[in-house]
């Protein structure tokens, strides 16, 4: 038995974080301040999978490798990607948010109705979209921490409530026709780049900064890694968890806004089952489902893996039946590669 000398002396299971962005105040390990590259670090396997996919698809389809197609991929990934950012924050702290897709639908519907039916000026519509998402997140967080309902159950309940409310508000019919500036958010192309892509990447940059560089993000990872250690450090775990659900709800609100802007209509069935796709992207990107290890850039790559795969299979005209199998297989492959690597490092 040769234990590495860096094993945490306090016996806290802080090790095993691999390339985690977890740091400093807690650190019983020698590496105190993480260098810039360890903060950017994403699971290497994800990059390999993405590179292999791009190579293979480029060879297989003559239509794959073009700027306009890559913009298509980014555009197709934008909504899921933003949702997956939300999932990453919650999962970083060992939580789960199953209501993401429904909250996306509800926020979009509220935004569309306030512009189209109530006749509020469009900036209010946008704000209401985000506020609706944040409010759902707040309720999720309070149910989880104050009422003591497990996150899985609380957000599963919200999944039903939010979807139902979206259908009730619209009577099940999509609300077509939004203000032009809102539609621009979804269909505009400043400098030839679709606006949702710009928003997707900009939100990603902010989210990455928050998760990797701020106390807020570090605490989330500490809670996910070891809740009692977080408490011992003086982190107000409950309050922090609520904030994380608010972040994930807000992300769902942004995704809802992108969705309605893209199709110029508030569809109450928007985002059906998207929570599972978002969580898949998060895991593909190297985030640990049980908390403590998470990066936004990883999630971005995870979402891109799915976007590239789907796009390539569409270009090859592969039946949608096989597409689901392909995504499932890639998920298992990526996590398996990670496990292999980890085991090797442990030896």
């Amino acid at each position: 038995m040769t234990l590495p000398a860096t094993a945490s002396p306090a016996g806290l299971p802080l090790a095993g974080n691999g390339e985690a962005t977890l740091s400093t105040e807690t650190a019983t390990r020698p590496s105190l301040a993480p260098s810039w590259w360890s903060r950017l670090a994403v699971r290497f396997e994800s990059l390999v999978v993405l590179a292999i996919l791009i190579v293979v698809l480029s060879v297989l389809s003559p239509y794959f490798l073009s700027i306009s197609n890559f913009l298509n991929i980014l555009l197709a990934t934008a909504v899921i990607g933003v949702l997956a950012y939300g999932a990453t924050f919650v999962i970083a702290a060992a939580g789960i948010d199953l209501s993401l897709g429904s909250v996306l639908g509800l926020s979009g519907v509220v935004g569309a109705l306030s512009i189209n039916q109530v006749g509020l000026p469009w900036p209010f519509g946008i704000v209401l979209c985000l506020v609706t998402g944040a409010a759902c997140g707040l309720i999720n967080g309070l149910l989880n921490t104050r009422a003591g309902i497990p996150a899985f159950i609380a957000t599963l309940g919200m999944l039903g409530v939010a979807r139902g409310l979206a259908l009730v508000l619209t009577n099940g019919v999509p609300v077509y026709g939004l203000a032009d500036p809102v539609v621009y958010l979804g269909q505009g192309r400043p400098f030839g780049i679709p606006t949702p892509v710009i928003i997707f990447l900009a939100v990603g940059a902010i989210a990455h900064f928050v998760l990797a560089y701020t106390r807020f993000g570090k605490y989330a990872l500490v809670i996910g890694d070891n809740e009692s250690a977080a408490r011992a450090m003086g982190v107000r775990v409950e309050r922090h968890r609520v904030s994380l659900y608010v972040v994930s709800g807000t992300m769902a609100g942004i995704a809802g806004l992108l969705f309605i802007a893209r199709v110029n209509s508030g569809d109450p069935t928007a985002g059906l089952n998207y929570e599972l796709t978002a969580i898949t992207a998060t895991i593909l990107g190297g985030t640990n489902l049980f908390g403590g290890r998470a990066t936004i850039i990883g999630t971005l790559i995870g979402a891109l893996i799915m976007g590239v795969l789907q796009n390539g299979l569409n270009l090859l005209a592969v039946s949608s039946f096989y597409q689901q199998m392909a995504i499932g297989s890639v998920l298992i492959l990526a996590v398996w590669l990670d496990q292999l690597n980890r085991r090797r490092r442990m030896r």
Binding site: F44, L47, V48, A51, I54, V55, V56, S58, V59, S61, P62, Y63, F64, L65, S66, S68, N69, N72, L75, A76, V79, L167, T170, N171, G172, V173, P174, Y176, G186, Q187, F259, R262, V263, N264, S265, D267, P268, T269, A270, G271, L272, Q310, N311, N314, L315, A317, S319, S320, F321, Q323, Q324
Partner: protein, 327 residues
């Protein structure tokens, strides 16, 4: 730092492959793009067969895409955008709802690609406002299908029949289901006012849900005389629930689509009737007409393929010429 070296190697390989792929650009020939809703439904399976046979007959090539379910609206939009990368000669699309594909179809219009509205899912006024030029719409007249269902029901029960009737609609907010239910309700009120619709509920195209709705309605209204379902999948669910409740003989059940499973059930004497929509014929004619459009010929803006009521008698006699298109 082996990790970063490997990343570098990975990128180099990717770049190399990029070069290979660019040099391997295939020669372009006109290919039709076909975008359906989902293939996990016999209706779209029959449509696919019609498109296949129509393309064979017309001597054209096509590539087809569909999404996982008929509720996967945004994935369908993404798929549509991807299909445009292949620069199809024509886009034959069956949109999941009346607005979702508009951004993509506008791009198609801008690229000079004719847009065919398969199965009549688009609203021509809204599409025009969004900058989409629809070459033509082809599909089944859903209001007429509902009406035919009511006519057949009354021909069985008689004009003076009395009793409660249940209507199971499609997915909440879906225009096809709404039209079918509306056609049925209006015709029934006009020709047999004694038959009262006691509930009209969305079954989301789902047989399981339709079965539950049937059960619940039977609890409240045990003397139900008829059920009209906006598609066959739901009608089959309703049939099973009615038989399970011991009321299979008492209730006349009608579906719409004329799909394979419904035909089996009708032949077995369980489902009473289905208003067949002949998606095979819709798919076949869509390809033929698209070819005419590309050849510069004028085609009607709307084409409705006829429908027929399938019953055990009709199927056993096997005389109707349209039956060959029931797939």
């Amino acid at each position: 730092m082996t990790r970063f070296r490997s990343i570098g190697i990975g990128l180099a390989v990717a770049l190399a492959a990029t070069g290979v792929a660019l040099s391997a650009q295939a020669a372009d020939k006109p290919v039709y793009g076909v975008l359906l809703k989902t293939l996990s439904n016999p209706f779209w399976g029959a449509m696919e067969k019609g498109i296949h046979d129509g393309a064979d007959a017309a001597g054209v090539e096509y590539f087809m895409q569909a999404v996982q379910s008929d509720q996967a609206a945004e994935p369908q939009l993404n798929t549509c955008n991807t299909m445009l990368e292949r620069k199809p000669a024509v886009m034959i699309t069956a949109a999941i709802n009346s607005t979702i594909l508009l951004p993509c179809l506008k791009r198609a219009t801008d690229m000079g690609i004719p847009v065919v509205d398969l199965d009549a899912n688009l609203d021509h006024a809204i599409a025009a406002k969004a900058g989409v030029k629809i070459a033509f719409t082809i599909g089944s007249d859903n209001v007429a299908a509902g009406k035919q269902g009511a006519d057949w029901l009354v021909s069985q029960l008689g004009k003076d029949a009395k009793g409660p009737v249940l209507v199971i609609e499609g997915l909440a907010g879906n225009i096809t289901g709404q039209k079918r239910a509306k056609g049925f309700a209006e015709e029934l009120a006009a020709i047999a006012p004694g038959l009262k619709i006691v509930a009209s509920l969305p079954g989301d195209w789902d047989g399981q849900k339709a079965a539950n709705i049937t059960n619940d309605t039977l609890t409240r209204t045990p003397d139900l005389v008829a059920i009209f379902c906006a598609n066959d999948t739901m009608a089959l669910g309703a049939v099973e629930a009615a038989y399970a409740a011991g009321k299979g003989q008492q209730i006349t059940i009608i579906g719409v689509d004329g799909n394979v499973d419904a035909v089996k059930s009708i032949k077995a004497g369980r489902l009473n009737a289905s208003v067949a929509q002949l998606p095979y014929l819709v798919g076949k004619e869509a390809v033929e007409k698209a070819k005419a459009v590309l050849a510069g010929q004028k085609v009607d803006e709307f084409t409705y393929v006829p429908t027929l009521v399938l019953t055990k008698a009709v199927l056993d006699a096997n005389k109707d010429p349209l039956l060959q298109y029931v797939k």
